[in-house]
């Protein structure tokens, strides 16, 4: 039975789609059967981030409106077996899908997969409500900036109101150099402000830009710090105990240690 996890943030541009793509890929590399769903109807992006845009034949709205079967619409990843994308429709709007549709959809997928990750649209309107409707767990992505943290807090309230249980926090694009200078909120500070359990912190990393340009997940890149952070989050999602450290400019050493361990395991 799959766990259905929605990745949300409130504010746009904090890295929801990148997070969904990388976590989905990392979980699949680690051996899970994964479906990632783009719930951003009308503004689809997960397909380009994963480099699957030219393989789309049917999308989520086709499935919901009965023009295609779910299995037909799942796009197989180029590199990782057992990783599938259900793309959003680009030429429709959010009203094409209801919360009940999303619940039906996720229930169908539960049978055959280990993880269903849903990339939530920005905002707190219909699209957000649909994206969390079928979820068992919620991951909230924020960056260490006042606007993103404030919106994350708003979303926490809505998630609690929807009785989804306490969401877990991913702090994205943390810059250890700025934190050291006192010019950026640290992981601990963000955690303290939001009073949420953190499941990962992803350092700011130029590799993300180049990976996205190529339509490849950063988790494939052994030298990407962000890629390693996403691998660690995937392992924590799987229940493994992986220590969570505030990234510093020095403790790249720790990351490398875990990255190395992981690298060997992945190849077996």
């Amino acid at each position: 039975m799959a766990r259905v996890i929605t990745v949300t943030s409130g504010k746009g541009g904090v890295g929801k789609t990148t997070t969904t793509a990388n976590l989905g890929t990392a979980l699949a590399i680690q051996g899970a059967r994964v479906v990632v769903i783009d719930a951003d109807i009308g503004l689809r992006n997960l397909d380009v981030v994963m480099g699957l845009e030219n393989r789309i034949v049917y999308d989520l709205v086709d499935v919901v409106e009965g023009r295609a079967r779910l299995r037909q619409s799942l796009i197989k990843d180029k590199r990782v077996p057992e990783l599938y994308l259900l793309p959003a429709a680009q030429t429709r709007d959010k009203d094409a899908v209801s919360s009940d549709d999303m619940i039906d959809l996720t229930n169908q997928l539960r049978q055959e997969y280990d993880f269903v990750l849903i990339d939530c649209p920005a905002g707190i309107e219909t699209g957000f409500k649909n994206a969390i409707a079928g979820a068992d767990e919620i991951l909230i992505v924020t960056t260490p900036e006042v606007s993103a943290v404030r919106d994350a807090d708003r979303v926490v309230g809505l998630v609690e109101a929807a009785e989804k249980g306490p969401p877990r926090l991913i702090i994205n694009r943390l810059n250890p150099r700025l934190v050291a200078k006192g010019e950026m909120l640290s992981m601990d500070e963000v955690v303290e402000i939001l009073a949420l359990e953190p499941i990962g912190v992803v350092p700011e990393d130029e590799h993300i830009v180049s990976s996205t340009n190529r339509g490849e997940a950063a988790v494939f890149n052994q030298s990407s710090q962000a890629g390693r952070a996403f691998h660690n989050i995937a392992r924590r999602l799987n229940g493994e105990h992986v220590p969570l450290l505030e990234p510093t400019e020095q403790n790249g050493v720790f990351d490398r240690l875990f990255g190395g361990l992981f690298g060997r395991r992945a190849r077996t």
Partner: protein, 225 residues
């Protein structure tokens, strides 16, 4: 026989016109065939059923709506000059219109030969849908779609998705000054650009068409017969 059911692109969606003189069972059969052939063409469009002067019974209306639903299509409105049918349509939760058809319309709609000329950029999220040929002066951006019953000519860069012959015509063609689509479809065939095919340096006009049940892309200079 082909003209029993006609499909007309309107500003607000698609209009499916029923011939006034055809036998009802024949109409239903023809409707089924048309929807089967052109599933993709209708997908997501706002649909109006134009039943002309025919007065439909409750059963007849339900039968048509059921066929539409079987194909995953949502009927939005019913257009008819019969007021009893309009009442039934409203009761079924549809918009009812009494737009009369011009007397000559039935003869004046050679559906596939009608071409549409557009001068614009088609952007992500926009769909151009037309039952005949489409000629576009401008670009088709990634995320944009052109769905045509006939052929599609793009005098510009084609980077989005084009479906030609969407009602089942595999002789339809797609041409563009720069043909770099995310995907091309002709009739029921689908082709995507090769993953590593981004390093073509020469930009040249190209044509895509169906050859032996495959979509092939050729340069415009290719010797044609």
């Amino acid at each position: 026989m082909h003209n029993m059911i006609q499909i007309k692109g309107a500003r607000d969606g698609l209009r499916i016109l029923f011939d006034d003189s055809a036998e009802w069972p024949d109409l239903l059969t023809e409707l089924r065939t048309q929807l089967m052939q052109g599933g993709n063409f209708f997908a997501g469009a706002k649909l109006t059923l134009d039943v002309g002067e025919r007065a439909l019974s409750d059963e007849q209306l339900s039968a048509v709506l059921a066929i539409m639903e079987e194909h995953g299509l949502q009927t939005e409105a019913v257009s008819t000059s019969a007021s009893a049918t309009r009442r039934l349509a409203r009761a079924a939760g549809l918009t009812a219109r009494s737009t009369p058809r011009p007397a000559t319309a039935a003869q004046a709609l050679p559906s596939l030969d009608e071409a549409m000329l557009l001068v614009r950029t088609v952007r992500s999220g926009q769909v151009i849908r037309h039952q005949g040929h489409v000629a576009l002066i401008g670009d088709v951006n990634p995320g944009a779609e052109i769905i045509a019953g006939g052929s599609v000519v793009v005098w510009g860069r084609l980077r989005g998705m084009v479906h030609a012959g969407a009602l089942g015509d595999s002789s339809a063609m797609i041409c563009a000054l720069e043909l770099r689509p995310t995907q091309l479809r002709i009739a029921h065939l689908i082709a995507r650009t090769p993953e590593d095919g981004n390093d073509r340096y020469t930009v040249q006009p190209e044509v895509a068409r169906v050859v032996q049940a495959q979509i092939v892309v050729e340069s415009w200079d290719f010797p044609r017969h």
